[in-house]
């Protein structure tokens, strides 16, 4: 699937062991998030220490890839326009993302979406979401 716009990526997944599992999984079409074993809560963005307890008792889990639009904004001044959204995953954590492959005028807060992966110009795949 072609991206509707150029996606530029400047992360350093190969050199940061703390986040490498996330980026490697994206390239395999899997959305990995982390779970704090002290609280049972999931979190994103990836980091070794739990943001809830600062403990390193955390584990990687594969997210279902399902979520709901928490809020969104259509970037009307862009050419072509695109949509930025916060998506709350089924597991409870929220991501900044784009909603792709849909009629932006029909989007609604609370709408069900699922993850899809699109390659950046640099080759690293990134998670996007599309209506179910």
């Amino acid at each position: 699937m072609a991206a509707q716009r150029k996606i530029s990526f400047a992360g350093t997944p190969d050199t940061n062991p703390e986040t490498k599992p996330y980026w490697d999984a994206c390239n395999e079409g899997k959305l990995m998030i982390q779970k704090c074993l002290d609280t049972g809560k999931h979190y994103y963005h990836p980091r070794s220490l739990s943001p809830f307890t600062l403990s390193n008792r955390t584990e990687w889990v594969q997210a279902s890839g399902k979520g709901k639009i928490y809020t969104f904004s259509v970037m009307e001044r862009a050419n072509p326009p695109f949509t930025i959204a916060y998506v709350t995953l089924e597991e409870g954590t929220t991501m900044l993302t784009n909603i792709v492959d849909c009629d932006f005028s029909k989007l609604k807060i609370g709408q069900d979406v699922k993850v899809t992966f699109i390659a950046s110009e640099e080759g690293q795949k990134l998670p996007f979401f599309t209506p179910v």
């Binding site: 996606i7 530029s8 990526f9 809020t71 969104f72 904004s73 970037m75 001044r77 900044l96």
Partner: protein, 385 residues
């Protein structure tokens, strides 16, 4: 040793405002505002021994400013929480003056973003979890908060438009304001969409400009030439950096900074005669009216559309210079202008058409960062003698 009322704002000034800075740097405007503020209160540059500065364009604004001015203060603070930095600086200056760490403090800001162009002065940190999705900051972050707020509380674009209309009516009474033409609700609704639901008329101006505030102890303030604006209460709050760490996109940290300022002052929203709110976008005054206790949560849009902020008829004078939406917004940290306009009102020196009668208590509120992400907050309550 109580902090309440222990210091006063004794001198204030804006630098030149508008499109004034081709060839100038932010520190030129900081110096200009400082000279004017010192002249305002009659203190000398050599009296200044505390410097509080934040800037978007200067890496270490306190050092740049002090070198330019040729001063060597014994106390400095470059706390940076965006547009809320300056109310926080006043709070920090209060503690420092009270503890004898400095005796005369200047809080100062300058920006040349309008003349230099946004892309020349503003560079976002790259975040691999946000930047690839290309948020256009700051507007996108506010737009995301606005969408969620409208969804949860049933607010409308008309409510947002009415904030811009109220600000415009105040601005038309201010000869120094950037905007000179009337604005209707329909014109806001019909204006070019930037990032939904925010149109270009929901966004504040970008101007060059700056300001300076001179503070000293309440005892020393009595002997200076201007009527002091006593700092009764000040509160600061930090919320979050990344959106994944936000607690609530429709409630701002004004809830906390406001409560702290009210608690210190021993006052409530009902005591406030004039309100100066950082209006980066039309959504922000709506949220702050709620979070600072001027109306119930979710009722901010209705409160505005009921006409409560309209010059001359509304019950709550608001951004009486026309605010960042319509008068001036030294990008992107316009908070200092809110304090300066509040002091102007307390002194009874606002333009006769916008001067609030019997203006005893003013509240200035700053928000810093992007609301949806990177969100700081600070609130200041001041009283005339």
């Amino acid at each position: 040793m109580t902090l309440r009322g222990s210091i006063a704002i004794v001198g204030t000034a804006e630098s030149d405002l508008g499109a004034v800075a081709p060839g100038l740097s932010p520190v030129d405007l900081m110096a200009q505002a400082t000279h004017r503020a010192l002249a305002d209160c009659g203190l000398q540059l050599s009296d200044v021994d505390g410097v509080f500065a934040a800037a978007g364009q200067l890496r270490v604004p306190t050092l740049t400013f002090c070198q330019y001015m040729g001063i060597h203060p014994r106390y400095s603070d470059s706390t940076l929480i965006g547009g809320s930095s300056f109310m926080a600086h006043v709070l920090h200056a209060m503690a420092a003056i009270r503890q004898g760490l400095c005796s005369v403090a200047v809080v100062v800001y300058g920006s040349t973003q309008r003349s230099q162009g946004r892309s020349n002065v503003r560079r976002e940190e790259y975040d691999p979890y946000e930047s690839p999705y290309r948020p256009w900051l700051p507007p996108t972050a506010y737009a995301l908060a606005t969408s969620r707020y409208m969804h949860e509380y049933g607010a409308t674009r008309e409510n947002l438009a009415d904030v811009a209309v109220a600000a415009r009516q105040w601005a038309l009474l201010n000869p120094a304001a950037w905007e000179k033409k009337p604005l209707t609700r329909q014109e806001v609704l019909d204006s070019r969409m930037v990032c939904s639901p925010l149109s270009v008329r929901d966004c504040c101006l970008v101007t060059d400009g700056g300001g300076a505030i001179i503070l000293t102890s309440a005892e020393r303030a009595k002997d200076l030439r201007r009527k002091p604006a006593y700092v009764l209460g000040a509160g600061e709050a930090l919320s979050h950096q990344n959106i994944s760490n936000m607690e609530n996109l429709t409630e701002t940290a004004a809830v906390h900074s406001g409560r702290r300022a009210y608690d210190m002052a021993g006052l409530s929203a009902a005591d406030v005669d004039v309100l100066e709110l950082y209006d980066a976008f039309t959504i922000t005054p709506i949220l702050f009216l709620e979070d600072l206790g001027f109306c119930a949560k979710g009722q901010g849009g209705k409160f505005v559309s009921d006409g409560n902020l309209i010059s001359g008829v509304g019950k709550l004078p608001f951004n009486t210079d026309g605010g960042g939406l319509c008068s001036n917004h030294p990008a992107n940290r316009g908070g200092i202008t809110k304090v300066i306009e509040a002091v102007r009102q307390l002194r009874g020196e606002a333009h006769p058409k916008v001067q609030v009668p019997n203006c005893d208590v003013a509240l200035a509120h700053g928000t810093g960062g992007l609301l949806g992400s990177r969100h700081g907050s600070s609130t200041l309550i001041m009283e005339r003698e």
